[in-house]
Structures are given as C-alpha cells and as structure tokens.
C-alpha cells in the first residue's frame, strides 16, 4: 500500500499538467468567442479546393 505515497503525488502532478494546459488556453482567449470556431470547422474542407499557387494581389 505504500505505493500510494508515490501515486498520490503522481496524480496531482497529472492534474497539474492538465490545469496548466487549461490556464494557458483560458489566458490566450480561446474561450472568449465560442460561436465562430464551430463555423470555421464547417469550411475546413474548402481549403483543399484552393488553387496551389497563392494569388498575389496587384494592389
């Protein structure tokens, strides 16, 4: 049972990693606009139809 002395810190460390990832997401503003990203996903497959060479604007 003394394995618990190792497992307990390990679980907390794992939770901490997840927390760090979450805090990074939150602080970079990923949860601010929850409505546009779902729309972006819908148009993902259009990317493949784009011409290979990038259009260079003559502006």
């Amino acid at each position: 049972m003394s394995i618990i002395f190792f497992l307990l810190p390990a679980t907390i460390l794992l939770a901490l990693l997840a927390l760090v990832a979450y805090v990074w997401c939150a602080r970079s503003g990923q949860y601010e606009d929850l409505d546009t990203p779902p729309l972006r996903m819908l148009t993902d497959d259009l990317e493949e139809r784009l011409p290979k060479e990038k259009a260079t604007p003559n502006h």
């Binding site: 939770a15 148009t43 502006h59």
Partner: protein
Amino acid sequence: MNSQPLSEDLVDWKASEAPISGRCAHCGLPLIEGSILNTDGRSAKQRELFCCIGCETVYGVIQQLGLGSFYEYRKLEGDFLVKPAQLPEGELEYLDDPLLLSEFVERVSPTESRVLLHLEGIHCAACVWLIEKLPHLLSGVTEARVNFVQGTVEVLYEPSKVTLSQISHWLGRLGYGSSPVRGNDALKEERRLSRWELTRIGIAAVIAANTMSLAISLYQGWFTGISAEYASLFSYTSLVLTIPAITFCAMPFYRAAIGGLRARSIHIDLPISVALLLAFFVSSANTLRGSVEVYYDTITALIFLLLGARYLQRRALARAVERTDLLSSLVPLKASRFVSAGAGGSEQGSWQGVYSGILAVGDKVRVEPGEVIPVDGVIVEGGSAVGAAILTGEALPVRVKPGNRVFAGTTNISSPITLVAESTLATSRISRIVNQIDRGDIARAPIIDLTDQLSSVFVVVVLLLSLLCFLFWGWSLGFEEGFNRTLALLVVTCPCALGLAAPITLAIAVRRAARHGLFIRSSDAIQRIADANELVFDKTGTVTEGKLEVRRFWLAPEATKADPVIWDVASDLHDPGVEQRLTPIVSAQVEFFQAVLSLENGSSHPVGIAIRNFLAVVGERFALDKAVDDRLLCEPVLGRGVKGFGADGAVWRIGSSSWLTEELELCGENQHAGEVEFRKEESLSLMQRLTPIFVSRNSVILAGFGIGDTVRQGIKECIAAEQARGTGVTLLSGDHPEVVEAVGVQLGVSAERCLGGKSPEEKAAFVLELGRTRRTAFFGDGVNDALVLRAAGVGVGVAGGAEVALRVSDAFIATPSTARFSALLSGARLTMRAIYRNLFASVTYNVIGAGAAFLGYVNPLVAAILMPISSLTVVFIASFSNTFQEQDGKEQDGREQEVAP
C-alpha cells in the same frame, strides 16, 4: 490568373438547379430586367447573372482570387440571401489620418498593429472563411479573426507594409463594408477579468475534484478503518491543495464581502466568506491535531460551484454589444472638407475626404444627401431637409436653408449642403450627450438585491443560533462537542444554495430570453422590469413603427366627377367591402396613379417613400399597371414637393397644402368650387393629426394623402393589460405635443400623460423626477432616448433605432414587435417568481441543515452530501422554471394578429 475551374460534378449540379438562374450569382436576389450578364471568358455553362455592378465586381474578385469555393459552400448551406455587395465608395485615405490611427489602432509590437473593424454584410460560415483569407490576399496582414456574433474582425497587420485604407479597400472588394472601432478600454478590462475568472474556475475545479477523491478515501476509512499514516497523508495533502482555493480562487468573495461592509450592507458573500474561512481554519487545526474532522472537500466544491454559477450569469448577459464604439456609430468617420489651393482661404480648391475628428471650427464641410452630418455648423450653401429624429425624436424631416444651424448626428436627406463648422467632433452636442452617458453622470436609485436582503437576516439568525448551540451543548456536553456541533452548524448553513439561487435562475432566464430576441444586459434589469409600476414609452419607433405611412386617401370631386371619395386606409385595411366600393373608382384613375407614381419615383423624402409604398399597395390590390411614365419630367421643389411636366403639357404638383394654396391663388377665381372641398379635407386630415399632402393637375386639386406614423399592432392591448395591473403608462416624446396626444388617445393613455416636445435632457429630468416616488421602466429607441434610458429605473432599448439605445439600455428588444414587450414584462415577472421559489428552497434547506447540526447529526460526511444536493436542487428548480418560455405561444399569437385583423 484565372480561377481554377470548378470540379465537373459541381458545375452539373449547379446547371441543373434551374431556379438559381433567376437569382443574382453573388447575393441571390431575384433578377429584374437590366441585370448584368457575366460571361467572363468562361464556358457557357458557367455564365452568371448579377443584380448590380457591385455584386458582379465582388464575384469577379472572389473567383479571380481562387476563392470560388465560397459560393459552393453557400449553396450547401441552402443558399440564403446575402445583402447585395456594396463597393467601397470614394477614397478611403481618410483612414490613414494619423489622429484616426492613434485613436483606433493599437500597437502590439514594434512592427505590428491591431485594429478591430466592424463588418457589414457578414452572414454565414462562408463569410468567416472568406474574410479570414485576408492574410493570403494582402501581404502585410498577419492575421484576421472574425467574431461572427459581434460582426467584427480583428486584424493584425504591419503598418510598414500595408495601410488601414488598403485593408478596408480589400474587405470592400470582397463585398464587406468595414469601419474601425475605437480602442475600448472597458472592453479590454472586461476581457482581462473574464480570463482571470476562467483561471480561477479551472484551478477551483481541479482542487475540488482532487480533494473530493481524497475525502472519499477518508470517509471510507470511517467505516473500514484506516491507518493513521494514510489518514494524515490524505488530510495534509487536502490541506495543501485547499490553500490556493481558499486564497486565490475565493478572493472575489472576500472582496465583495469587504466591499459590502464598506458600503454598510451585508452582501451574500459575507456569510459565505465567513463560513469558508472558518471551516478551513478549523479543518487545518484538526489536521494538525491529527483529527479527521475535516471539510476540505465541501469548501473546495462550494468555491467551484459558486464561481461557476457567477461566471455563467455574467456570460449570459449580453455585454458584448458594449464593444461597439458609441460615438463612431452615430457620427461618420469620414467628412468632406474644403481645402483651398491658394493661401489665405482663397476660393480655389478641392473637396477632400478627411477623418471627421480633425475638423476644426471654421472648416467648410460638404454633406451629400443620405449622409450624416459630422459636426455642428451653420449652412452656407444649399438647402435641404434634415432628419433630426436622432436628437429630437421628430419623425418628419426639418427644412433647412443657408443660415440655419444643423447638428452632428442628424441626417441630410434631400440635397447637398455646405456648412461651416461651429464645433469640432469632440465639442458637438451629440458628443456631449455621449460623454454624459459614458461617464454615467446620471445616477439611478440603487436596487436592494433580494439575496443581500435575505442574507442580512440570515447572518443575524445564524450567528445567534451558533452562539446558542455553543453555549447550550458546551454547557451540557462539554466544550469539545459544543465546538464541533457549532462548527458543523456554521458549515452546513453556509449560504451556498442561497448564493447560487439568483445567479443560476438569472443565467438560465437570460439565455432563454436571448433565444427569443430579448437581450438582458445587466443583472438587476430583470428585477427592475418585474418591479416597475410606471412604464414610460417613447413614441416614435417604440409605440409607433417610426416610419411615415399614408393613413388617409381622398379623391376630389374633380377627379371622380361625382362625390369625393375618402378612404381611411388604416381602419379599412382588411375590410373586403372596400375593394368592391373602390375598384371602379380606382380603375378610372389609372392616369392619376401613374402620374403620382412617376412623380415620387425617385424621391428619398420620407413622405415620398410613404406615398410610393401606398401606391404599391394600391397597385397590388386593384391590379393597376405599375409602370412609370418616363416622359414625365420631374422637378423637386425644396421643402414643398415635386412638380412634373407631362408629355401632354399637363403640369402636375404634389406637395404641401400651403404650396398648392399659393398655386391656386395664382390661378385666379375659377377654382373656388374645388377649394371648399380642398379646405374641408385639409382640416379633416389635420384633425386626425396627419400631415396633408395634395396632388393637382393644371392647378386643379385632384386628391390628397393624409400622412402619419403608424401605431404598432397590439401595443394598445399591451398598454391596457399593464394599466389593468395598476401600472402607470406615460408617453414621452420629442415630437409635437398634438401628435403625441393623438397617438395617446388611440392607445388609451390619458392626455395629461402624453408629453410631447421634450428635449433629450428634459425627458431625462422628467423620468428622474418620476423615479423619486415610483419604480420606472423606460422603453425607447432613439439617440434622443439615450439619456432617459440611463435615467429610468430600467431602460429597455428597442431595435430599429440607433445603436446607441442598444448600448446604454439594460435590456434590449431585438425584434420590435409588441408581443416582445409583453413577453419581456411577463418573463421578468416569472423569473422573479422562480428566484423567490429558489430562495425559499435554499432557506428551507438551511433550516433543516441547521436543525440537524444543532442536534448533532451533521459530520463532514453528511455536510459533503447535503451541500451538493442543496445546490443541485437550486439548479434543478431554475432549469425547470417556466421563465421566458410562455412567450412561444405569445409570439404565435402576435404573428396571428399580424395576419388576421
């Protein structure tokens, strides 16, 4: 550099879809004669039709850039209508003015800048995709992020490589109008706070989950036995884990509690903070002593639940609209300024588009019809009609001529004017009003929050009870038992459910309301709306549609060759008998209707538009030919009407009665017979508070229109229902007192409660005065209402008017139908009832918990079970309450009313 041909199957699919050919390939509007055909060197199959040159250009640009998938995607989406493309008008160089850049653009690094642009015409996922392609199209743009709901795009760009005007130009080429939004400090602060809140919630969640799993082991240990070393491992770990939660995560509770104490009131966070801190200190003391009487799991779970509920409540409130910068939504960013070529104000020079912020007193500014006037000034050249509803609430445009003062924010309607600026943008009247609103100069009566009210009673009762508990059990069972029971009592009565009750109910109600087009923007708005016993309505645009309409139509004996015909349009609208009565008469007047239609065809004056709309209805009902007579030469006469010269030599006039009277007088005596009827009709029209407009042919009066603003359908019933509840209803308007009174009479509002001719400042003063004794709610839509919206106990903005109303109001009705007014009122009342129910439930729970703790039945395990159950009960009650749901039915009622009379 032509577009990649579309894949074959898609072309076939498109070609087979016949009905599409009748629509514009870009915006999807049905095509009319004179549409533009674009072959563009592509196969015949791919020929596309367009409704206008703008759409054609945008289509060409999109195809040329290889972004044609935009249209494919849109077809998959069901091909709903887009607004016809608006090509960027004129030069955009004004966007590169250094002053404008310093106000609107934020430097994020030495090489990069960020700007927020408000977009027009964004409507679906394909638009998001297209706009976010901007970095591919324009070198120098690093990133473009669209916020679909707010209709904005945040552009990150390198000012050394690309200018703001180029970005705006490119967005325009893609078919989206754009205007920069001023760097908003409040928005940044909001964003910062929201990120901190999310961080707190995340940390609290992780801690709560971990302490809970540790606590389960401890509880298990009670039943099966647990060795002391494990018990202390779990306790100490929990203790360490709880420290960030009780310090960092719970900080907002302490702040609110102290803030409440400073304001000499007891905020709900005070008992929460006390209970949390006490439980924490006693638990840590017990841990150090080696006892397992610890509450870490309860503490952390409570912190997480409360933070989460409050975040949801805040998030539900439609704060986002604050993002819109108030002043630039009212006054155009671009002004046309005269720059003299020679020195010393010579007459030679040219007009230049500049940023309106740099206009100085004395500058000559030109305003084209349809444009908004950028500064206060005096007209030096040209006469026009100016729509000043934004400041006065008056629906009819005001006639202006050289020498008259005009104000920033009002709209020039009929012809170009030149004015000399008397103010800068910052010192204009509209900007003073905006500043007053922004600074929140008008303070409103504070509202006593129900939860806080309850919590002050609560604190006293709990403190007395715990004292009693400690004394009674300490004396009878000894200090240890007395202390434990008192602690259990304090923890179990932590008003967590009480703290959750209002936020959760509100968050759910606000979300539901938003689904029905009612946006609640401040947390106390619902209570204020539910409590209001004095409703004040703005007239134009709120109880009325806010647009002019022909209400009365009169055909003179000269036209009918018999008795005059009077058609009361509003009341006869659905009377089938009218058709029978009028059809023979109307069909005898084909020439007349065609002439009037031709005369008003190009008019942008609201009266002209009203007459045109009326003729369209008449044409529809009596199957008249809607063709316009091109041979009729029209000549607008400023402030009076339109004059027309027919091919047969006839002279037509359509305009105000005073103008036609002058014309009649010129013609001499042979018109007397007609004049009696004309005068009679004029006075009848005026009696109905309508503006009389007459039509003459060769100085013979043929017909008249009575023009007025229409009252919204169902508003009368809504007002009657409120009056029946004992709520006072007042009409408050900047329009002429007689007009306001006429509308009031129609709605059953007594004459002394119809107040007209009020300036924005006077309206605010009136509502403030009323608010001294009554709880007021104000419904309004214009800029002239902005001050009042703030002054009233609660301000409800109505869509269709100025964006400013949306920004300053506490609640906002997005689709102004009367059903929504009543839905908002009844929804708010139902929500308050749900909150009462919820508060009652949480108090009941606390009473039971306190009783159990008093009798010694509560230990950490019982508390850990009871706490979440009570909180869940509250969430359950909130989500199953009927707030803002009944209106589904009501909405349908509203629709039915619109269809059937």
